[in-house]
């Protein structure tokens, strides 16, 4: 099949519809290896979009390639937890064995090796993606074998199966993970109640969003239900946000692996309440490997009469479609996610209007976290009164925590809301006497850094809200390096739309590198505080607002980790000043005193 035929087949499958551009680009790339200028031109013509728009989308996402990147593409997950498990050395040895520089394609076009943001395998790292398939638990031995397989051009599908094993690592179950429901039970109960009573139950249960912000789910569904669809094709939509990009979070991966029915059922219940016929699951590109199992779970539900027309013999009609992302953290923000669903770069929209009135295709849309939707099944099946008995006053129910880092048993822990940080540490094997835990980063880089003095604080919206990441750092860890890793993450993931964030995240990253390279001074620390204030106040969305949180927290709580790196009390350039005269010295052949800078300020040496 020629390239044009391949592209045509993909385009036909998606009805040449521009809003499906993400899926068109992904499927085309999967078959052709990369998105050449000619390919983009064909696609732009077919969907009748300006070519610049198509290229804009292709350029925006990390997992789309507008230049060839080798037949094997190895991406090392670069979360701090992967670093702690030694990914830097492993990647270096892989590059050495392949005679490669990170980020460069080998001369024969065979392979490229690079880093990527957290791939959600923090409890079983160091992890890599090879041609977008995850491989966990990398070891020096695996690196060696992998290099051999790449050199012999063995297809990834024929690599040892056990490498691709992704474990759930469920360590503690509570009401959600121990739900005991059979497929269809919760949906049947919801249909029995009817949309209005179901909504009333959700509100009475005081269910709040599990993505971290904790917005009332009932309120959101009600607003969406009450909003009217507009234009030629009025409709309501349910979107499940499975773009689990916050480094250190992997609970949605587990829910979608082993509790997919519960998630789909939650989406259906949401559909019933808001009056939607269509649900969209936005799956992060890193979880591509879940696409086939999820599609077959959907097929099973269709066969069982739980999706499609006349669900469970009623007039309720609802179906679900899966959209894959392509490696952009920002798409976890709901309006950026909707932009992405529509085939555009994931840039947060200006709000209001909110998605509940003007969301996907400008129609009323409710965007909910995977865990929130799953939890709604419990309320449908057991009632609001039962549900609200769990957790705390303002945070009912339970929360899944993704525990990783320095502990004996990393994995998924489900607790009723209100659990103390200390309790979680005890249970995961990082408690007193087990590991000298010095800090816990809650809810990922944009969350909170807690020190031992704060371990009695509680996981609940009343105290510490969280999307679920729980990264443990023992005494041997350098909290400055933790914050620097996060600074690099945000500089990489800023969408570039607003200046405070685009420039600010890069300035912060450069200052952190300057301090790490021992060129820092107290002025640089002042500058970090200034940038924190500016970005928090002036950024377009939450990414920029919270990008300095880890720096601010660690500067306040682990200041010595910064200060012992400072060069002097005087301001220091970020570069070697004397080396800045090197070329002129070489060209003039001079090496006299005036052809050098003294290392430090005072005039005496210069006179």
């Amino acid at each position: 099949m020629s390239d044009t035929d391949t592209i045509d087949a993909v385009l036909d499958r998606h009805h040449r519809n521009g809003t499906r551009l993400m899926q068109i680009l992904r499927e085309t790339q999967e078959q052709l290896g990369w998105l050449s200028p000619a390919t983009l031109t064909i696609i732009a013509k077919a969907v009748a979009w300006p070519r610049a728009m198509v290229e804009g989308t292709a350029d925006f996402y990390s997992f789309f390639h507008t230049r060839p990147l080798g037949r094997y593409r190895v991406l090392w997950s670069d979360n701090i937890t992967d670093r702690m498990l030694g990914n830097t050395d492993l990647m270096e040895s892989m590059c050495k064995k392949l005679w490669l520089e990170p980020g460069r394609v080998s001369e024969d076009g065979l392979v490229s090796v690079d880093t990527t943001s957290c791939t959600g395998m923090c409890d079983q790292g160091p992890a890599v993606l090879v041609n977008y398939r995850p491989i966990t638990r990398m070891t020096p031995a695996r690196v060696g074998e992998m290099v051999g397989l790449i050199r012999s051009e063995t297809p990834v599908a024929k690599w040892p199966v056990e490498w691709f094993a992704v474990d759930d690592n469920i360590r503690r179950k509570d009401i959600l993970l121990d739900h005991g429901l059979v497929a269809g039970q919760a949906l049947a109960a919801a249909l029995e109640l009817g949309a209005e009573k179901m909504l009333a139950e959700i509100k009475a249960a005081r269910l709040r969003g599990r993505g971290g912000a904790g917005f009332g789910t009932g309120l959101k569904w009600e607003a969406c239900r009450n909003a009217e669809g507009h234009g030629a094709h009025p409709a309501h939509y349910v979107v499940c946000n499975a773009d689990e990009g916050e480094p250190g979070t992997f609970k949605d991966r587990v829910l979608l692996t082993s509790y997919a029915d519960l998630v789909f059922e939650g989406m259906s219940i949401a559909g019933l309440v808001v009056g939607a016929k269509k649900g969209l699951l936005y799956l992060r590109g890193e979880y591509h490997y879940l696409l086939d199992p999820l599609e077959s779970a959907l097929a099973t539900r269709r066969q069982a009469g739980l999706l499609g027309a006349n669900i469970l013999g009623t007039s309720f009609e609802f179906d679900i479609e899966i959209h894959l992302g392509a490696g952009a953290y920002i798409c976890g923000e709901e309006s950026a996610l909707i932009e992405s669903l529509e085939g555009k770069p994931g840039r947060p929209r200006i709000r209001p209007p909110f998605p509940v009135t003007h969301g996907y295709l400008d129609q009323p849309t409710t965007v909910n976290n995977v865990e929130t939707l799953a939890a709604s099944c419990l309320i449908a099946a057991h009632g609001s009164e039962w549900y609200a008995r769990h957790g705390t006053e303002k945070s009912t129910g339970s929360k899944l925590l993704s525990v990783s880092g320095d502990c004996e048993r990393p994995g998924i822990y489900e607790y009723p809301y209100g659990v103390t940080v200390r309790q979680v540490l005890e249970d995961c094997g990082a408690g007193f006497g087990k590991c000298d835990c010095q800090a816990v980063q809650i809810s990922g880089p944009s969350g909170l850094c807690l020190t031992a003095a704060e371990f009695d604080r509680r996981i609940a919206f009343e105290d510490i809200p969280t999307a679920g990441a729980f990264m443990v750092f023992d005494e041997s860890r350098d909290m400055f390096e933790v914050a620097r890793n996060f600074a690099h993450f945000f500089a990489h993931e800023s969408c570039g739309f607003c200046t405070p964030c685009r420039v600010g995240t890069t300035l912060v990253r450069n200052l952190m590198d300057k301090i790490a390279n021992r060129h820092g001074s107290p002025y640089d620390i002042d500058e970090l505080f200034k940038l924190h204030r500016l970005m928090q106040g002036a950024s377009h969305c939450g990414l920029g607002n919270s990008a300095c949180n880890p720096i601010f927290d660690t500067l306040n709580k682990f200041r010595p980790a910064y200060e012992r790196r400072l060069m002097s009390l005087d301001y220091e350039p970020a570069f070697d000043l004397d080396a800045a005269l090197s070329q002129a010295r070489q060209m003039t052949g001079r090496d006299d005193a005036a052809a050098h800078f003294s290392a430090h300020l005072p005039n005496e040496a210069e006179a």
Binding site: L581, A584, M587, T588, R590, D592, L601
Partner: protein
């Protein structure tokens, strides 16, 4: 801002000591200094409040202890760095005046070229020049590999953008400083062209 602004300190008693100010033009075109002169007759008001140390106006060669240092231009050679360091050591407040001091400006256009190629082209290969070789007299300051804005080498307290910054912006900045207010340029005075 055409009429001289009244900064005579009738309401507040005049400061006992005049503000001591030094200025220098490094890799710049003196345009920013021209803009300082452009504050016109207000200069006379200003002279009641400040006195000049090292500046092209006084021809004092070395900078002594000062309250305020104003730097025009970026850093393109070793001498620029020495002057800048001298200012930073002696001035309580250091200001980057204009596009070149803040971003490198026009001189930084050579930054995408390798300095070695530049020197070779200018002194050895270019048509119609004397080809006398690359000057290597120790009296001459060596050029830096790249042109740098001044904040990359010393701590800078304030930045006055513009090419050049308008005279009114300089006036506003100085009068704010004299009155003890944190300088704020505001709309109309803050621009980058």
């Amino acid at each position: 801002m055409n009429a001289p602004m009244n900064v005579t300190t009738n309401a507040n008693p005049a400061p006992a000591k005049k503000l001591r100010v030094a200025t220098a033009s490094l890799a710049g075109c003196f345009g920013c200094h021209m803009s300082i002169l452009d504050i016109d007759e207000r200069l006379l008001t200003l002279l009641d409040l400040i006195e000049f140390d090292r500046t092209p106006l006084t021809d004092i060669k070395r900078c002594g202890p000062c309250d305020l240092g104003i730097i025009e231009g970026g850093l393109c050679n070793a001498e620029n760095v020495h002057v800048l360091r001298e200012f930073r050591q002696n001035c309580k407040i250091l200001v980057a005046l204009g596009a070149c001091a803040i971003n490198g400006g026009l001189p930084a256009q050579r930054n995408h070229l390798d300095l070695r190629d530049v020197l070779e082209e200018v002194y050895q290969t270019e048509y119609l020049v004397s080809h006398g070789g690359i000057p290597n007299d120790p009296e001459l300051p060596l050029p830096l590999n790249k042109v740098h804005p001044i904040h990359e080498v010393v701590k800078v307290d304030y930045f006055l953008p513009g090419c050049p910054p308008p005279a009114d912006a300089i006036w506003k900045f100085l009068t704010d400083l004299l009155a003890g207010r944190t300088p704020a340029l505001g709309h109309g005075l803050l621009h980058y062209d």
